[in-house]
Symmetry: C4
Subunit: 274 residues, 4 copies
């Protein structure tokens, strides 16, 4: 029984180190993990550069194995230290941890599988886990809240932009035609998106005077309508700043969003908790 | 008379299904219509892609006929189910429904008329009808209201941008000249719009030092004045948000700025005047 | 004396028609002038298009003379109808009117002077005069006020952007060098402006990995700092919306900017005029 | 002792002229310094232009020496006039002054050292010192304050953008591949940044339909998320504006939201509590 207890406390300590960041050991673990993740991403990026990838194949392969083994250990420790392993394994981060560790093992079986690189890129998503520790969480929660509140509006806006782009793309396809690079409607729609969002690659550009006139209209339109998402998000963030309305809940009728400093509920007249 | 009544109720039910979205049958109709519209748009887009258009001419033709017949039936049902058909036929959506259905029939008479594609693109506008059902209406109404309120300002702004572009385009035409791609004033104005809106295709770019200097001024100008429409819309949307707090004054303690719909004063708990 | 009086009233009526827009005749004059200005601008633009300019030289020349004579008459009438002609002649619009009318006359003496086109482009500025009539004035005054209030801030911002561009341009000149298109510091600064303002022509683009890394930093920087002018103007426009503060002046102590609905001056307690 | 005192006052006067801008002599010094800095920057820029640099080598060399000697004198005067020279020498501006003066002297020893140009570009940073005098300080402090307050949020945002770009770049590398210009992941990430920030050079552009589809998603994403930093800064600047209205409550009628510095209630004229 004593053994069992020490084992429990051992598991508990491991859980604290791996899943929390309040203790010095937990912070150290997070910092090491962050470094390992960044190194692993840098490895994937460097390997893709032709001159580096061919010259240092051997070194990169070893480094990759070291990272993979480290991640494997971490993955196993995470499963051990949690009371319900299945909860972790099938969670969002659990799946990412698994998928970003497995490619190197698979590469032994399926040699030369180039596309496993995509799985390795999933390691990037692991960075978000580390960020739990810092003050960034609060800030990003603020942002996430503002974005969530304006989600429906932004969706309506993007949907509207998409329809405008399809209509304008179809028109440009008829006006410019295949001889000026507008070879199909999907490609013209792609061009319309490139133009409306003010990206402007220039790989396709209108040649006819009428096409250039319509392009001008699209650009000025894009210049004007970029104001809309900005306005939506701005006002949403500004609202969260306005300390006038807090999220206090009335103890009597549960009405939320009271004016700051309110003493009585504006809905039922009941005194609010301080 | 009973027959007449049953016919009336039959018409009424059809009207409910087609024009409204409150009943399950009405919702189903809208979903089917939405799918049909998206499929029909996809068909137009696919047909324009050369490799697909030539390979699957037969299949696309049949699919197009199916869609056209479906839309024709819908069009006829809409006319039958409404009490005053002329009101629908000459409405905005009535005309779009007609114009987006007719091209395929016309293609029998006028074979090979490429430009009918433009009419078929009108189908896209039909999408807006479906959107009546969702919560999107409320959101888009919010946006539309904010845009309507700032319409005059945005128009003044766009007019100002256009004049600036014409002046700058004329100057660039003189500075760069035809040998650097600025072959005419309209083309130079087109370039000025491309630059001021920060699109920057790069199909035309200044070559002379003076031209590049003026271009720099235009770009920094464009970078600064994009703030204007954004500011207009932002403040307008923010205003529409502020309706949560009204300026109602408490009859007992004269506290102002209550939450909309407040029944009791948040300061003294006194009942507010309605 | 009667003659003198009738002459005076004739002058007065002419003044009303030309300088004001309250009477029907005055409105008609403004509309005709607006059309003439737009036509004259269109002529300059069309003439610059090579294919049109060479084909219709004769017609364009005649049309240009008609416009010039019309503008000359208008110019003379403006001088006659005003009590102090010198005040008009040396005003901003007086100079523009003169400079945009004279080029055609000069073209008789100096044949083939291409650069007179720049003077003719000044006609565009005349458009602003017409706009006095509409409700646009109020809207543009709103905008102008907001811009004026944030002038100093925007200037600081643009100055800052310029310095950043010069520094980044110099760095890119050293990193990329002449072989990648960064042939001189001014040209590199031009590229930095093109990049920071998110225009991105692509006529010059970094080739070296380090150059592309710095370019990435510049782009993300530009993406972030575009928020600054927008924020400045947004808050300024929002402020002008806030009807809470009006420009009422206290009759006792001349303090301005009172809360709307204020009955007493917040500075001296004196009752405000209604 | 008299000598010592006169020396002290001489030092004091010099300190006033060089370090302050309240006296006419101090203002004159600042203006001369500003001109010298701008001239010195112009020299560096002109020298880099190949045609000018080779033609006027001799003149530019002399002008450069004049500027260098002037800056050397200023540097020595700054050291002399301050009571604790070491405090100046190792300050931010002290180091910049030193580093931007030294290159010309070094060029005698190390001939043809091209990269010293980078040090000379440091002169630009000296411009900021001059700006201390103007009202710009106040404005830029406002901006700096707003930016500082939203620093954490903007950092979170930029970090998020970077991760999105790395993920999207990796995907595009797999989709497009080396044959379409996406030769490595770092290069693809560079492209993703170019696209997301709506710069769009066009040196690399997607060729495959799938690549163009992903690019469209990135562009619309970039178009939408540019709203976030703008919203952050807007609301922050707006907040700094709102300090005009405080939430002071009138002791007599309980009216809230008075203008900052209000002495009397604008509603009942009662004196406000301080």
């Amino acid at each position: 029984m004593a053994k069992n207890q020490s084992q429990l406390s051992w598991k508990k300590r491991l859980h604290e180190i791996i899943y929390e960041a309040d203790t010095p050991a937990g912070k150290l673990f997070d910092v090491i993990l962050l470094v390992a993740i960044i190194v692993s991403i840098a490895l994937v990026m460097l390997e893709s550069v032709d001159t580096i990838g061919k010259k240092y194949t051997y070194e990169l392969n070893i480094a990759e194995w070291v990272i993979t083994v480290l991640f494997s250990i971490e993955y196993i420790l995470r499963i051990i230290s949690i009371s319900k392993p299945s909860k972790y394994i099938f969670s969002f981060y659990g799946l990412i941890d698994f998928l970003s560790t497995i490619p190197k093992y698979l590469s032994i079986i399926f040699t030369g599988t180039h596309s496993l690189i995509a799985l390795r890129a999933l390691r990037l998503l692991r960075v978000f886990r580390i960020l739990k520790l810092a003050r960034f969480v609060q800030e990003s929660q603020h942002l996430a809240k503002a974005l969530k509140a304006s989600r429906a509006r932004i969706f309506v806006f993007l949907f509207f932009v998409l329809i405008v782009c399809i209509i304008l793309g179809s028109i440009m396809y008829l006006v410019e035609g295949a001889e000026n690079g507008f070879t199909s409607i999907p490609r013209s729609v792609y061009w319309a998106i490139v133009t409306l969002t003010t990206v402007g690659f220039g790989d396709i550009a209108p040649m006819t005077p009428l096409g250039q006139f319509i392009a001008s209209v699209i650009m000025i339109l894009g210049y004007a309508i970029i104001a809309i998402p900005t306005g939506i998000v701005s006002s949403e963030i500004a609202k969260s700043h306005e300390l006038n309305l807090n999220t206090q809940s009335c103890p009597s009728c549960a009405t939320e969003r009271h004016v700051d400093g309110a003493i009585f509920c504006h809905h039922c007249g009941h005194k609010l908790n301080e």
